[in-house]
């Protein structure tokens, strides 16, 4: 195992926006990122952002140098609203895809690099349609607005750039 990085080695926070812009509400994560980037100018030096189709194993390399992680993704679990939750490493068996769940990604990180696993939040955005070429639904558009509010409020309440030891809220 590689020795875990120290806090000093981890100057950045990582924001992962997950989804495909051409599959209806699956675009929620990337569209969230588009909206958030311009309103975080003062924080750009401490935030690393990445847009990805899926959570994949090599993202552990990005996590290695981060102090905290935000994962923003559309969810089919509900269609209205958002949900913010902390994520802990957990080995899960995804039967259908090359992709990892957020918990599995952290478990992979822990297996590879040991503790500490950066505090990680999963911000789910309610979504309902995922067909290729489908537009973003009006409800998910509203959900993105809510997600941005949740994100900004949370990072503000946690001093934005130092969230390493504080749990995320759930709403």
């Amino acid at each position: 195992m590689t020795a875990a990085a120290t806090k000093h080695d981890r100057p950045h926070h990582l924001l992962l926006a997950v989804g495909n812009r051409s599959r209806g509400d699956d675009a929620a994560g990337p569209l969230f990122l588009d909206r958030v980037l311009p309103i975080l100018p003062d924080l750009s030096s401490v935030w690393h952002t990445e847009e990805c189709y899926q959570l994949q194993p090599e993202l552990v390399e990005e996590i290695k140098t981060t102090r905290s992680v935000w994962i923003v993704d559309a969810t089919q679990e509900f269609s209205t609203g958002t949900e913010l939750a902390t994520v802990s490493p957990a080995t899960q068996f995804e039967f259908t895809t090359h992709a990892l769940s957020a918990a599995s990604l952290l478990a992979l990180y822990k297996k590879m690099y040991g503790d500490p696993v950066p505090p990680t939040r999963l911000l789910k955005i309610g979504a309902s349609q995922f067909e290729l070429g489908a537009p973003l639904s009006a409800q998910t558009q509203r959900n993105i607005d809510l997600a941005i509010d949740t994100f900004l409020q949370t990072i503000a309440s946690h001093s934005a750039v130092d969230t390493t030891s504080k749990p995320a809220c759930t709403n």
């Binding site: 039967f95 259908t96 090359h98 478990a107 290729l132 070429g133």
Partner: protein
């Protein structure tokens, strides 16, 4: 044969969904009155809407637009569309800089895709056995028991993505391909960074080829027999018959090793291949026209390419190709040999990247050319999973009026069904559906590395279920596996 209504009183066994392949799949096994497996149907629900999605768009946007089709191999779609729009722009020959940049991009894409499949999906089956518990057959156990091996897999995948980012500007949604060429050179600092890593990646690639070979040969007779089917193989080759991933002409190799077609111009693919539609599947069934619908199915991808080519241009991969065929006078047919062939290609990509990186054409030189615009363009490349066809027609305004895509997984459609049927015929005993059946069906499908979704959204951990139905569609028994790996059975 394919029409359930006309088949002789088939019963249905449903396996839904299939694990660890992209998207969601469902397997239906049709049984005859003696409970013998008459037919396997691998349902893939995500393959729809490609052409509609593309129609009406300006052709110069295609390389960007088609990337959204697939979360696993967006670069393959970008390059195939790029070759097609070269033709629409009237460009036949690219500049050396553009061609080498595209090849570098393609090698990076194939390398990262092959690494992901082998380390994340295939290696658990091969290292721990098809019958081991699902809790064990995953990347986490690979990390526990073979940490060095697994770490290299993750880093190789990342290296491939760094190449994609260096050439296109981003890991996803980067745009470098333009009509008639590329839009930027690669930055010297990025060349230096990649050059510093590439020899280590070649070394890792050699190691993983050794692992794939040794795992296969450790039980060669069983692996040869597993899900074995016999088919022709298709792939691109260069002018000397060598392995070619980006360009070249089509070759079809018969099961006895003879060449059915060689140096066939891919622009004439509609004279070679036709697609059959079946009522039960969104995915089409391509076949070789001269062999007919029933006999004309074929396979593409690493196994097809390594079997069909005469040589590989890079020395280490060529040595491994010769080992792969050692003792064989005809092509290897087992689907499990895909894993071994895939790693030979991974090594080839690493070597090819090392050869390209010092080339000054990557950092300087003319990037694009123009020509006399045309109304029709065809782009064909070897994507990680096999031959990929993009075919477009445009109107006076340059808007796409017609599009036809044959993705690699589609070409392997019938082959996957046949492999499933072979496995099920060996495993299914009456109505007794065992986890072993489920495991083996999955292993057979995974060998082809199908990309089923071209979608990206993770809908969460889904239960795995095998269902036995009577003719009226009523379930007789259910075998399911939940996201924790727990098995449950029930009778109706």
């Amino acid at each position: 044969m394919d029409d359930a209504i006309n088949s002789s009183s088939p019963r249905r066994v449903v396996i839904d969904p299939v694990t660890r392949v992209e998207g969601h799949g469902k397997v239906v096994l049709l049984l005859d009155e003696q409970n013998r497996v008459q037919q396997a149907r691998f349902h893939i629900v995500e393959f729809r809407g490609f052409e509609k999605f593309i129609q009406g768009r300006p052709y110069w946007e295609l390389p960007m637009v088609v990337q959204r089709l697939c979360g696993i191999c967006p670069v393959s779609h970008q390059l195939a569309a790029g070759k097609a729009i070269d033709q629409l722009a009237g460009v036949i020959t690219l500049t050396p800089s553009a061609e080498k940049l595209r090849r570098l991009l393609h090698f990076g894409q194939v390398l990262q895709s092959h690494a992901l499949h082998f380390f994340h999906l295939a290696s658990p089956d091969l290292l721990f056995g098809f019958s081991s518990a699902i809790e064990k057959r995953n990347i986490f156990t690979v990390l526990e028991e073979h940490p060095d091996f697994a770490m290299k897999g993750v880093k190789m995948r990342r290296f491939g993505q760094e190449i994609i980012k260096a050439v296109t500007g981003k890991k996803i949604h980067g745009l470098a391909v333009v009509p008639g060429g590329m839009n930027k050179h690669i930055d010297p600092a990025e060349v230096a960074d990649l050059t510093a890593q590439v020899n280590e990646v070649i070394g890792w690639s050699q190691e993983v080829v050794n692992v794939a070979r040794e795992l296969y040969l450790a039980n060669e007779e069983y692996h040869d027999r597993f899900a074995q089917i016999t088919s022709p193989f298709m792939g691109l080759v260069d002018a000397t018959g060598g392995l070619e991933l980006y360009d070249g002409n089509l070759r079809v190799q018969e099961p006895d090793g003879q060449l059915f077609i060689d140096q066939f111009d891919p622009n004439d693919y509609t004279q070679l291949i036709r697609e059959q539609v079946k009522s039960w599947s969104y995915m089409k069934f391509p076949y070789l026209i001269d062999k007919g619908q029933d006999e004309g199915w074929y396979r593409v991808g690493p196994l097809a390419r390594v079997n069909a080519c005469d040589q590989i241009t890079t020395p280490l991969a060529e040595r491994e190709r010769q080992r792969f065929l050692l003792g064989y006078t005809t092509p290897r047919q087992s689907p499990l040999a895909y894993h071994w062939a895939r790693m030979i290609e991974l090594l080839h990509c690493a070597e090819a990247i090392a050869e390209l990186l010092p080339d000054n054409d990557l950092q300087s030189g003319q990037l694009s050319v123009t020509g006399e615009p045309r109304r029709e363009g065809i782009g064909v490349i070897e994507a990680p999973r096999g031959t990929l066809f993009h075919h477009y027609q445009i109107d006076d305004q340059g808007l796409v009026t017609q599009a036809n895509l044959i993705v690699s997984t589609t070409s392997n459609n019938q082959a996957m069904n046949e492999s499933i049927r072979r496995v099920a015929a060996d495993q299914l005993d009456g109505h007794e559906m065992t986890p072993e059946l489920l495991n083996q069906v999955e292993v057979a499908i995974r060998a082809y590395d199908p990309c089923l979704s071209c979608a990206t959204h993770a809908v969460g951990s889904m239960p795995l279920q095998i269902e036995l139905q009577n003719l009226a569609g009523q379930p007789l028994a259910v075998l399911s596996r939940d996201s924790s790996g727990n098995i449950e059975t029930s009778s109706q």
